[in-house]
Symmetry: C2
Subunit: 551 residues, 2 copies
Amino acid sequence: MNKNEIRYFPLGGAGEIGRNMHVFSLEDRYLIVDCGVQFPDNSMLGVDYIIPDMQILQGKEDKIVGVVITHGHEDHIGGLSYLFDIVENVPIYATPLTAGLIEVKLMRAGKLSKTKINVIAAGDVLELGPFQIETFHMTHSIPDCIGLAISTPHGYIVMSGDYKLDPTPIDNWPSDYSKLAQLGEKGVLALFSDSTNAERPGMTPSERDIDEAFEEVFAKTTGRIIISSFASLISRLQQVATIAIKNERKICIVGTSMVDNVALAKKLGYLDMPESEIVSLEEALKLPDHKVLILCTGSQGEPTSILGRLSTGKYYAFSINPGDTVLLSSSPIPGNEEQISNVINRLYRMGANVIYNSVLSIHVSGHACQEEMKMLVNFLKPKYIIPTHGELRHLHQHARLMKQMGYDDEHVLVIENGQSLIIADGKVLLGDKVPATMVLVDGTNVGDMDMDIMYQRERLSENGVVVVSLVFDKKHHGLIQEPVIVHYGLMAGKEIPEVEGELSRQVIEYCAKKNNMESNNIQKNIEQLVRKFFYNATRRSPWVIVNPLYV
Amino acid sequence: MNKNEIRYFPLGGAGEIGRNMHVFSLEDRYLIVDCGVQFPDNSMLGVDYIIPDMQILQGKEDKIVGVVITHGHEDHIGGLSYLFDIVENVPIYATPLTAGLIEVKLMRAGKLSKTKINVIAAGDVLELGPFQIETFHMTHSIPDCIGLAISTPHGYIVMSGDYKLDPTPIDNWPSDYSKLAQLGEKGVLALFSDSTNAERPGMTPSERDIDEAFEEVFAKTTGRIIISSFASLISRLQQVATIAIKNERKICIVGTSMVDNVALAKKLGYLDMPESEIVSLEEALKLPDHKVLILCTGSQGEPTSILGRLSTGKYYAFSINPGDTVLLSSSPIPGNEEQISNVINRLYRMGANVIYNSVLSIHVSGHACQEEMKMLVNFLKPKYIIPTHGELRHLHQHARLMKQMGYDDEHVLVIENGQSLIIADGKVLLGDKVPATMVLVDGTNVGDMDMDIMYQRERLSENGVVVVSLVFDKKHHGLIQEPVIVHYGLMAGKEIPEVEGELSRQVIEYCAKKNNMESNNIQKNIEQLVRKFFYNATRRSPWVIVNPLYV
């Protein structure tokens, strides 16, 4: 093994659901970049989120030199509290806003004492064990993002982080083009680059581009304005607040995560929103309608969010009235399309004027589109490109774009999570595979979910459950009493007593046959009988539980 | 009541999920236009489809003059077999391809004898009881579509049907502009107009526009080409077949619905695909890769479709090989985004080159966009507009567009299903509400699904189910044996025996207290104990079933 050999391990569950954690090793020391969660798709019933499979780190806590976080979104920081269940005393390095968000998260999870959060600034150079890491500012949909450049004797390993090349960001702090150009001059061996929008042509519009649409809405609206967005989209909150103040509307912030994020961003100087312009919900509800802007969460249609509850009339504090204008300043995260659509439909039904991205441009993506991806490659001139972030389809599409730029299969590596890379002697080659299964989290318990449990939930969800309890006489083998049949999620209607009666008769009849009673498979056989019965009666296949008790 | 008063009843379940059936009444006679199904969203666990609430037709079979079908898509014909459970001997009127598709459908459901299918041609005038109906050709994504114009003394009631204004349709049969202009000249009282794409600006591209992209793929590809699309998208099948023949590839059609539709469309002259160019799958697999085009279903990622099974390696007849090029010539129906994305990711993983609409224009919508909607209004100059088809958000957006054209609230009526209209004296006014609940179909039994059952399935799907069986002594009230605990979809892992043991101990302890045993609520109390236990142990809330048996 080459002394300078760096290994790279992409982690985060199955390849199609995103890469939330990166591990580099050099001289038996480990560097972690980001540690996020992924949200489950609709088929993962009851799963709260998916965390990266961290087993390759087990027992290595003395060898981990640190965790560098590129920005404060959940899919980059949400896994930290689980990381500290496995390793302790590993320091974190993050820019101020990112550090603030991590602190809140770890405090809530009771894990703050297990690490030290080091606040860094974009441009800092970190010396972590054998790793020398240069940081540089990148624009995205949350302030204070960084990209990383890890030095190697054969050129830099650059991680773009999540980025867009926004020429007019709300905080007036564009990406560090001069650093990108310098890195390109010095030589980049490998670029790990954001692929999220690889299917979208052109350039992502600037955050500033949507000001006009907001101005238009504020100018035309005489009723209340309610805007929902991502709580972490600090720049959007700034934009909206600025326009509200200009239009003499007071700002009311509703929802814990939004209130917390606003407080943190104000404290750290990322948000300019004078206290005099902010009112409580109580005050807001007393103001004339044309004097109010309400900011809330729920732009993904989450049923428990403020907007979700407003749309079903279940928010205790106030209701949507005809004349209200509701803006969803966001775009659907894949899988949320339906629930967002339902929220929009319900708000319309309540008489609101609903404005969302497909009718007016009030949201832009935070990720680079195709032309920006190419431009980043023009800046950095990397020898190797490893598409990163996004589903497998986005990684492949990113690779297609790079091939248009003259890269060949050997120099664009589409890898799935768990497929390690060996970076040595100026080359990047495929290494071994390491475990990268999906670790599903439901409730507090980690790791006690598996695909069997998912399958059982799916089956239960499709046709419900039937429980048949039977009490047998231990000695004489006979049924002592009639079967007790209960079912849930299976069927409604007045035919139920008849159906249950018939099933009961069939079970009794079956049990009455002496040779059946002595069968070892009585439980299985009756389960099969019940399954068959319901399939014939209803063409449904409920989950069947038969409980034989012997007394 | 005015003798000439026409009433209109929009049917199809809750307003946000589409309008699949229209009923008009005049002089106590009823005319039905279309009778389709809607597909459930992801939250409707285990539901196969949703049919319109037809109870207003119950007992009226002698008064129904006929069902006129505008085109052969499932959301316009899929409810017919349920209609004939309620009313018999009601004739159907449809153009040849539509009639053919209906015949197959009713034959399979064993309902063909309950109606008479009358084949009509676009341009025909139907006299059905008091209704005089003029039909006219419209372009859409299936051949042989018609719009309808019902005469009234105060102008026509026009139904656009699903349409786009395609200037170069594959069958070279554009919409009947001259008829539309004539209707506009004579006077249109009310237009019921397709709203599906009301959020999309511009014009929908022509079906012909995607030829170029297909030509490009065929020219560049040396491996097998596998194209999946909607089985009903006859024009797409024609396009692809024409290009395949030109490129000397034999055509292989896989999947029952596609095979059936091709046979029907060929027989009726809607598809020009010489027998000599078609091969069986067996033959196709023996041909060199560059000589093969396989057409199959599954463009919505349905797990049981051919493409769905190919993507999981579960199709018995053949497998995806590296070098295969797979085209998904379709766009996601809302709610299917995730499962389509999963299919694309899996095909990539198998080494296929995957091409879909976001990377190359190989699909266009069959519905009119904003400029076409406006153009239709320019032709027809209706006094009233009733946005139809699409979710509530699309109806409202359609109304917004019409307001840009000078219509006011009184003349653009956004109504939900069940909200009837009164069309009399040259006016359209809101009438009574009639029942329009969602009728959910799961398996064969109709009507025995309700929202409670949906709720139970949702609960079961989130955290699984726990069944605790208890056998008590009838006389002495004591537990005779240890509780039997089974659970599914709740948890996996090695802590299970420990967790179960602890629960068992707590139940025994509870039952041991004499006053507990005599409580009437013993079942409820133990259920609560079990729920609390699992919440504390795992933060999960399974569905709990406690079965006390007394012997």
